[in-house]
Amino acid sequence: MSATTDTSLPEGSPRIYSREFVFLLCVLSLVVLVVITASLSRVYHKQVHTLADSWFAHGQRDMQAGNITAALTDYRNALVYNPNNTRFQFSLATALAAAGHGNEARAYLLNLLSESPGRGEVNLELARIAVQNNQLADAERYYQGAIYGEWDADPIATRWQIRRELCEFLLDHGLMKQATPEVIALAENTPAGDTQRLKIVGPLLLRTQQWTRAQELYRDLLAADRSDDEALAGAAKAAFELGQYSDALQYFDRMPRERRDTPDLASAYGMAQRVLAVDPFVSGLSANAKAQRATAALTLAQSRLQNCARQNGESLLETPPRTDLQILWARFQRTQTDWSERDLERFPERLDASMEFVFGAENAAAKSCHEPQGDDRALWLLGRSTSVVNR
């Protein structure tokens, strides 16, 4: 017994009940209590985990049966008994999202994300909820998180699918600048022989105006199957946009008529035909035919300039000429005597200059007024086409 304690035992108390003895008794009873509590807690945890797993299994069954409401209750019950089980939390979040409760799901997913930021499936669910809520920046961020996140099963294929989803989301929301690198990355991650995926990537390349890449992709597809309608349509469209009207026409001609006449292709097909019909540089044309086409083009360009000036309330005869239309008109007035059909036939070297004027006039009118239609549009497209540049 300590000699310095404040209280001493009452006289006559048996020493066996001293403070030290009671203390030891406390420690011993503590050990017994620890053993009892440990046993009880083991039984409790076992029971609770059984209950949690049972509720979760119920939930999975209900989800598979399409009974989302029941599944939600089951998952919530499972979480009562095992609140930190991330699989349960994710399943509840998925069920909530499936039931249209995106915001409710979001809170659970954010919880999961804070615990494991690299978890792909959580990022993906968050991205989809952000899409539903029209939160574009969040959606893009979470999609990126999902693409570069961890995936247990077939990560390459899963990432490809998510990138595709991201590309479609960006394009659907007009985010062309952000979509372009993603589509290019998607195309580069697509195996060459995988026709199914190439057919998914092709339209995305077209939507992002990656004409050359799209053309190469469709050529690969056509190399595997020459009569593949979808590949022919894609190749035709890519060739058309690249100004390769002759190639485009060939692809169009190889398509079945009913496919070619679908609204999305018919106008391109018609325009390709027009472009080739007005092009004086088509190989194989006689000098006379070239001259005739150039003369017709000059006439069209002249009236296009006049119409556009009239529409703008502008006089083409103003001196000195100031606007593009006036400058072009003044130039035409000076040189038109050199560009008669006969002169163009006799002096083919003047063809380039005359057509340069035509393209310049169509371009200026398109800028000043509106995009041209009909043969004017054909000439305008011809002027812009790389085939002319390369010629």
Partner: protein, 582 residues
Amino acid sequence: MGSALPARTKFRTRWEAWAATVFVMREDRLFLLLAVLIGIFSGLAVVCFRLAIDWTQIALLGPSLYPPFPRVVIAPTLAGVVVAVLVIHVFPGVRGSGVNHTKAAVYISNGYVPFVTVIGKFVTCAIAIGSGQSLGPEDPSLQMGAGIASLIGRSLRLSTEKLRLIAPVGAAAGLAAAFNAPISAVLFVVEEVIGTWSAGALGAIVLAAVSSVVTMRAFLGPESLFRVPPFRVAGPAEMLAYAVLGVAGGGASLLLLKLIVYARPKLQALPSWTQYLQPAAAGLLIGLIGIRLPQVMGAGYAIVDQAMHGQFTWKLLLLLAALKMLATGFSFLSGTPGGTFAPTLFIGAMLGGAIGTIEHHFFPFVTGTVGTFALVGIGTLFAGFLRTPITSVFMVIELSGNYTAILPVIISTMIAYVISRAYQKVPLFDLLARQEGLILPSVEERRETMARAVEDAMRADGVIICEPADQLAELSRRAEANAEAALLLRVKPGEWWLLDREELIRRAPDASPTTTAVHLKSKGPVPYLFRDQTLEEALQVLGDWPLLPVINRADLAKLEGILTLEDTLRAFRKPHIEEKDL
């Protein structure tokens, strides 16, 4: 000779020798060791208590969050009858608040908490909470901790002083394990039970709280009562949103307090036979609510977790908050044993979630999630209802493990606290104690009572400062001009002497010009005071001195006034400004 001793005596001799070596420690050291032991015991008790509640709940209501009808009505009703019988016939001491029982142990019964109340609280609260009564396990855990501590203290025959302190130590351990929040538990016990930051008790309280939480976590895991989703708090403009929550929380806590103020005496005044029926009636009413909204039943931590994760619409959140208030009122007023901490957290979370959702709807720029508002709401209700503002702030931080919320929580809790105080003068625990016929010291009042200072009692007149070189004739003239004034001789800065007035007047006429003040009979040096010291300190210094000089802390030669016993007593008689207002 040793070999001749009987075996028992030999053992005893060895034991005493060993004990003398191991247990030679002062009582305050033993007290710290005991705190750890109490913490572990309390932690184990709380683990068993929680298991008991969960098992009872599974047995009575089933394993689902949504118990089926008619079980949802029958279970709490029948359990109410059982609880009433147990409380009336077996464990009459379990009625009332565990906090007040612990305070009574400190202030009335020298640390005595009957151990039967520990068993009683364990059994009756497990049945009540497990059957769906809208009560929580924290207050019973607190009392169980206090009871265990008291038993250990008594068994070890601690001094009365330590016995008084041991109940709060156990209370902190019990509460810490129940909340899984040691800091909040320590603060609560300091803030509400003992009322002072006593260095002697604080170490033991902290040790007990920490060891109980460690024990509890060893068996039930480190997880918080509910998971708080990640959140962030944007700029200062957003604080306005939390101020609104503070106002709503203050109103709600006031409503709950007023319900208790109004209804509890009325129910207590009913004939005694109704006490058999009151818990059952409460159970029946809660069961009826539970048919449609079983979320209000029990402690409701799982539901708070769901609210944190934005699982309810604002309408449902408001409805749950209102019905939980009602259900808690039924359970608590019926005399069913159990605590109000968990229901307070529940109501706060629901109210916070609702306010957050509504604010989001009207002000989409508010960035705080529903979970953030629910979390802040918890602290708000806690501060408004239980009137423990510091605990409330730290509890939120401890539960969330995130300091980001500290500003919103402070703003919201303080508003709620001020509103609650303004319209309900007596805090909950004091109110309950008074209703039970106990006048326990009000910690809130004590906390806010301003100590009277020397400057409240001192006066600047009535003293003549004399210098050592002052001639007696001149001093005598001054003394005669001011007949009542005392004469203080400033020997040097910080050294003052009291001159004998009568001697001065007697010697002055015959004194030579070289006779100065230092030649007079004087008493000193006089202890001095500073104006900011308390009058309690001044009284201790005053002793037999007729007056004490009050001097400047920066200039010990400068006299600011004098203090007499009469002045001091007059100041004590004078009411404080706040007291006058009341």
